[in-house]
Amino acid sequence: MASVFEYAPAPESRAVVDIAPSYGLFIDGEFVEAAEGRVFKTVSPSTEEVLSEVAQAGEADVERAVKAARKAFEKWSALPGAERAKYLFRIARIIQERSRELAVLETLDNGKPIKETRDADLPLVAAHFFYYAGWADKLDHAGYGTNPRPLGVAGQVIPWNFPLLMLAWKIAPALATGNTVVLKPAETTPLSALFFADICRQAGLPKGVVNILPGYGDTGAALVAHPDVNKVAFTGSTAVGKEIARTVAGTRKKLTLELGGKGANIVFDDAPIDQAVEGIVTGIFFNQGQVCCAGSRLLVQESVQDELLDSLKRRLSTLRLGDPLDKNTDIGAINSAEQLARITSLVEAGEAEGAERWSPACELPSSGYWFAPTLFTNVTQAHTIARDEIFGPVLSVLTFRTPDEAVAKANNTQYGLSAGIWTEKGSRILAVANKLRAGVVWSNTFNKFDPTSPFGGYKESGFGREGGRHGLEAYLDV
């Protein structure tokens, strides 16, 4: 009887989004074919269905796009800030209007649950443009001196985990400050950036201010190496970030990098346990754990370990994995076969090194790229799964006895992007936060984002901040 109480497959309608069979590059306000005529396919990771064929930008296209951006820069940077603001407000509003369409598109192309694209990605995207729109005519008040100047052409390379949100983080502050951009979306998720190109047209944005070049790593490399690019912004892996840092060495290009992480989520014995469990779940299973600031290391005080793990396992058993378009889905698909292989090999290393693996009973769909929520116990600082970024729904559980030990373990990593602290004691939150070498520290919550709040890492998690007043600095000649 009670088993009749099942959730409906409640799929969001695909009909709200119309994906064309092919897309060009977006250069100087027009969709054009790649100079070399190359194309690549983008698939839906939950079904492996081919969604569209997309032009692949090569060096000649980078050249054209940078030229278009350079040409547009003169007028764009000379516009009164209030006029640039109004363009960005228009974009923010059109994104709000088209948010359901974009949410479905993003879910199809990325594999993440519609619940997340609808309730997190898209509202944040619109809010980000809204926020930076307001800065465009207030730069004098931002604390970078009077009349701070833009840099010029920004070359931006973004990842596949939050395709449209990362685009917003890059383009909104760049345009607000008067720069023009050439942006390369990730090869597995090019579609929302191309839809954004259409939004720029609807908003009447001058040609060449935004240029979109889909492609692979070589396209990105050509872009960041282009001599007429004044600013490079990259979000992605630490390995590629180091490559880019070497590429721009010796030039005058301003660089910001937002790279990997191995965030510690620290749970003290006086934590609000039920909410901590929710925060741990959000911390590592949001977006299938494909989040640079994921709380992928759970550091739990030994005295509450058993109680917490029992609660956590019980909670994981209620997670629903499956069709990302289903509104009831909590865990969607892994973005690509390549990423799935990487997660699988790291998890195998975890087992081989003696950590204890656990997953709730969870049926995986037969097609597409899937990985069940996974938890490792008996993990020590020496394990690969405690050190390497897995970028998947895999949580490593470690324990500590005292706050000093928690901080020491949390900081014992080459990364320094995020951390979480769970305790009801305010002074402990602040004392621990003071000691953590991480760019974002969440207390009694996790994975919260806001356009007003700066985000970025310490150490090998990169440098520069995106979001907030601080996010302007990366695009100003200061």
């Binding site: 603001a85 407000f89 000093d404 030990e405």
Partner: protein, 310 residues
């Protein structure tokens, strides 16, 4: 809404169609009451031609407006800055759609040519956009962490003062009005606006725009009438927290500032502003005039007593 070929002003009655007059009403608590006094006064254009009858607000209307503003304060101040920004931007969007109407009203009120009135209205619309962008930035510009010499976290944040009475500029009936009203509500205060005595119609029409722009009822309350009659009781009102004297002459300003001292209202004194100056990009001073700064201390302590070091 209006056909540009047809002059719908009251005096343009020679056309085939007899126009419908609008009854101008106050805007209080999200509703459009007539004055409780039942009285009106004649409003004329720059050439002394009758335009409309405007409500002559009484002291009772002013008290009602304070009650409405106080009631709305908690919700408005408690709304997220992002939400307030969206709403202020919505005001700009709605005004853009009624641009022609306001150009006509401003031209009539101030005796301006159509291009000049258009410039006033466009600047007023853009001013809403300017302040829409400030809602979620002012705290980052005027607040922040303080590096106190001790184991304490110490953060200063601006908070809205409360209920603010705004005497709108007498000469700039719309751009001036928007320039003094928008900064007050952008930061979370609620306002009671006393419209330009001579030219209240654009202000009263603005009420209609605010009512359809998701601005919660009571956040802005608009009164028309004799400035010198309505404002002394507002300046003395113990449930009003601040007063902007932009529309007061020197004598009235002094009288109101003295009355305001009773409960130490924050007072923004009138500045000599000629109408061209209203076009200039504002700074933050009209916002900070109606902000309090709250500083929170919290111990940070040390990690533990063990003294072990890793």
């Amino acid at each position: 809404m209006s056909d540009p070929r047809v002059d719908t002003r009251p005096d343009a009655r020679s056309d085939a169609r007899l126009s419908v007059f609008k009854t101008y009403k106050l805007y209080v608590g999200g509703k459009f009451p007539r004055s409780e006094s039942g009285r009106v006064y004649e409003v004329s254009d720059a050439k002394d031609k009758w335009l409309a009858n405007a409500p002559l607000s009484s002291r009772k209307d002013a008290r009602d407006a304070v009650v409405a503003a106080r009631k709305a304060f908690g919700g408005w101040a408690g709304a997220t800055a992002y939400n307030r920004g969206q709403i202020l931007y919505r005001v700009a969007e709605m005004l853009e759609g009624r641009r022609e109407q306001f150009v006509r009203e401003v031209a009539d009120a101030e005796g301006l040519s159509k291009p000049k009135a258009t410039a006033q209205v466009d600047a007023a619309i853009d001013r809403w956009v300017w302040y829409a962008g400030w809602t979620d930035k002012i705290a980052q510009v005027v607040g922040g962490g303080n590096p106190v010499a001790g184991p304490y976290f110490n953060l200063s944040s601006p908070e809205p003062t409360g209920v603010v009475v705004v005497l709108a500029p007498q000469e700039s009936s719309f751009l001036g009005l928007v320039s003094v009203l928008a900064p007050v509500i952008a930061t979370g205060n609620t306002a009671i606006v006393v419209a330009s005595e001579k030219s209240p119609l654009p202000a009263l029409s603005l009420g209609e725009v605010l009512a359809t722009s998701d601005v919660p009822g009571g956040v802005v309350n608009i009164l028309s009438g004799r400035t010198a009659e309505i404002t002394p009781s507002l300046a003395a009102h113990q449930d009003v927290n601040a007063i902007d004297l932009a529309g007061a002459d020197e004598v009235l300003a002094k009288e109101l500032e003295i009355a305001a001292a009773d409960n130490l209202k924050r007072v923004l004194r009138p500045q000599t502003v000629d109408s061209a100056q209203w076009f200039a990009t504002p700074g933050t001073e009209r916002m900070t005039a109606f902000l309090e700064t709250k500083t929170v201390w919290h111990p940070t302590g040390s990690l533990g007593a063990s003294g072990s070091s890793y």
